[in-house]
Symmetry: C2
Subunit: 129 residues, 2 copies
DNA sequence: CTTGACCTTCCAGTGGCTGGAAGCCCCATA
DNA sequence: TATGGGGCTTCCAGCCACTGGAAGGTCAAG
């Protein structure tokens, strides 16, 4: 399989796949002409990575998940712990964004938004709100 | 005012303030010894930036907000538009994170999390879920 | 034989800082 | 007057996870 095919299968851009090779996440074989030759297994690994990344796992998390994935004697507790950390992180981010949203939408509501210069948003930013 | 003092006032690290000078957000005067000499106005500007950044505005947004802030004849509608764009972005991010959270927490619930190797989380990541 | 799609490597840039080295400057204390 | 410690300066490198682009090799079709 050439890079474009595996890119299509995994949903990752070719550039990203090359990058993943650079940082050692995949190690595709090489054909005689120097082209990367991806196996089925490489394809599965890349799809795994794409899915894990889309769920917000960092590259380091992915490295850990991959090695757990390939370790037949892993404990599912280890995976669960990683996933739970991610969940907490997501919760923290949601909370933070909700806070921003509350503040900003209050400011937006208070700003009349016409062609006059007085603006509660700028006043708040300047610390006079 | 030296950099450390204005850092304390604005809540920004000194490093960040130097960086903001680099990219042209502030232009503090210089004392004879080469030290940056911040005016009250510089301090206010930096506090403005700190607040805007903490509300999630990008540096480019901040540049626009600053110039609106300093433009006595600005229309508040322009500011409101920027803030509304940010709100939409925040909403999109929250929605995305809620989606991730739903998927991940479902996976976590289904994983028994003990010392056995079978794990629905990895199965899902591998596309067999 | 040419065209055009594909592949390769390598370098640089994104955003928004952050860390660290090397070297002034300034003030207080011994 | 030496010295110590903090603060200040510049500059370079690195973070994360790619992404864009240049320069050039390879392959299949017409």
């Amino acid at each position: 399989m050439n890079i474009k095919e595996v890119a299509g299968l995994s949903g990752l851009p070719a550039k990203t796949i090359r990058y993943y090779e650079d940082i050692g996440l995949v190690r595709p074989a090489r054909a005689d002409n120097g082209y990367r030759a991806f196996s089925e297994r490489d394809g599965a690994k890349l799809a795994f990575l794409a899915r894990a990344r889309s769920l917000g796992f960092s590259i380091d998390d992915c490295r850990a998940l991959l090695s757990l994935y390939e370790d037949r004697s892993r404990a599912s507790a280890d995976v669960k712990a990683l996933a739970e950390d991610r969940l907490e992180e997501i919760d923290r981010k949601i909370t933070e964004l909700e806070g921003l949203k509350a503040t900003l939408s209050q400011l937006v509501r208070r700003c009349h938004g016409d062609d006059r210069p007085d603006c509660p948003i700028l006043e708040d930013l300047a610390g006079q709100g």
